[in-house]
């Protein structure tokens, strides 16, 4: 069984690394975004491999589903896509290479230094901050009777089951949970304000009925002389009209 998992693991990691690399290499920025989405999907597959379906599903939902759309929209609506103009390498490319290599070293050295992954021993949750270690150790033993999850007698316990996360949101991490929801709310309201303000500033095109009503109210002009056939009130006037009516 381990052989197949090893095979899948190396395959996935090759996919993620390759698509990561392609994000940087490829010229067309839309292609770069698509390669990024491919790497997100790869990471989601990793989570499934690690038997953490909830995190995997959330990864798909959040990253592949929503954030990628956000990026694509942003790219499409802002600037010219096919990047012929931009040249690939700066004059002093070697400085960038050096910095990249340094960072990579910082990451790779500890993993090589501690050969064994801090995998949880039997029954012991993984490396958690000291303060929660006591609380964490209590939970698995006295799982609430009512909702006994159909727990397959998997060898390793659920590292991060949906139930665990849900409970911890409401228990230890209640404060960060509320603060982050507040943050999201602020972001939402910001988006609405920007969209709303931008919509009103745009030149409002008057329909025929509104024009007739405006003409009647602004100048009290009788309708003996109907409008110019396909002429339209000069933008300035309609602008003033809308502002005044608001």
């Amino acid at each position: 069984m381990d052989f197949i998992i090893g095979l899948i693991f190396w395959g996935l990691s090759a996919l993620i690394l390759f698509s990561g690399l392609m994000v940087v290499i490829v010229k067309n920025i839309i292609h770069a975004a698509l390669w990024l989405i491919a790497s997100f999907a790869g990471i989601a597959a990793f989570y499934f491999l690690l038997e953490a379906p909830y995190i995997g599903v959330v990864q798909i939902l959040v990253y592949t589903g929503a954030i990628s759309i956000l990026m694509l929209f942003a790219i499409m609506l802002t600037r010219q896509v096919t990047g012929e103009g931009t040249q690939q390498l700066f004059k002093r490319w070697w400085v960038a290479a050096l910095v990249a290599f340094g960072l990579f070293a910082v990451v790779i050295v500890p993993t090589i230094w501690f050969p064994r992954l801090p995998v949880a021993e039997r029954g012991q949750p993984t490396y958690w901050p000291q303060s929660d270690r006591a609380a964490a150790s209590a939970t698995p033993a006295a799982a609430p009777a009512a909702q006994q999850e159909p727990q397959p007698e998997a060898e390793t316990p659920q590292i991060a089951g949906a139930f665990e996360i849900g409970r911890s949101f409401m228990a230890e991490y209640l404060l960060p949970f509320e603060v982050s929801s507040l943050l999201l709310l602020v972001a939402l309201i910001g988006a609405v304000v920007i969209a709303y303000e931008e919509r009103t500033r745009r030149r409002r095109i008057l329909t025929l009925a509104e024009e007739a009503e405006l003409r009647r109210s602004v100048a009290g002009l009788g309708m003996e002389r109907p409008l110019q056939a396909s002429a339209q009130l000069p933008p300035g006037k309609s602008e003033a009209g809308t502002a005044e009516r608001r």
Binding site: E224, R225, Q228, A229
Partner: protein, 218 residues
């Protein structure tokens, strides 16, 4: 306001808008005089408006009329009606405004151009009606065939927009002041105006369209 019957409009226009009516009497170049008479150029000013009976036909023209020879090659040309209000081209917008504001004819039904090569003119017929119903009024404008120019009434009557474009496209009557003075049916590079009587009909053989530039056959 009361409905006008046929002849009344002429009298009313004469009284209200002096100079709006078109006094000229077109002559028929082929001598087909059944409905026309000599152009009294000299009494332009003191033209007798009143007589609406068709003018008497002079001797030789009637004889000619008899011979069926004339009837054969040149189709007889319909008479130009005298009793309707024939308006001078440049005064048309005023007459139209007068009709709508003072007489209450606020619905323009039809703008038609009719080509009379025999009289050398194009007559554009305007049919005005009341939106409440009842018979309408006809206003005619006669313009020479070579430079037919009638001021457009589209700024006041948006309904005439497409009709005037049809008259321009098929008859070549220009309407200065029209908001979108372009051909309606034909493509823009088309030369000539198809509904004119002298537009050479080629039956069903293919019409070799000459591009402006090349002037060549195809």
């Amino acid at each position: 306001m009361p409905l006008l019957n046929q002849g009344e409009l002429r009298a009313l226009l004469e009284r209200e808008l002096p100079g709006a009516l078109d006094p000229t009497r077109p002559v028929n170049r082929y001598g087909n005089v059944e409905a026309t008479h000599q152009l009294e150029v000299e009494d332009q000013a003191s033209d007798t408006m009143g007589d609406t009976s068709p003018p008497p036909a002079t001797g030789d023209a009637a004889a000619e009329r008899q011979a069926d020879v004339v009837d054969k090659e040149e189709p007889s040309v319909p008479p130009l009606s005298q009793d309707d209000a024939v308006v001078r081209a440049e005064r048309l917008p005023d007459v139209a405004a007068f009709l709508r504001d003072r007489l209450g004819y606020d619905y323009l039904s039809r703008v038609t151009a009719v080509d009379y090569p025999a009289y050398g003119l194009i007559e554009v017929v305007y049919h005005f009606y009341r939106i409440e119903g009842g018979p309408g009024q006809i206003v005619r404008v006669r313009v020479p065939r070579d430079n037919a120019v009638i001021p457009s009434i589209t700024p006041m009557w948006p309904g005439a927009n497409l009709e005037e474009r049809v008259c321009y496209d098929l008859f070549g009557v220009h309407f200065p002041g029209h908001p979108y003075h372009k051909r309606i049916y034909m493509w823009d590079e088309f030369e000539g105006h198809p509904m004119r009587k002298d537009f050479e009909k080629i039956g069903d053989s293919y019409y070799h369209f000459k591009w402006k530039g090349e002037g060549g056959e195809e």
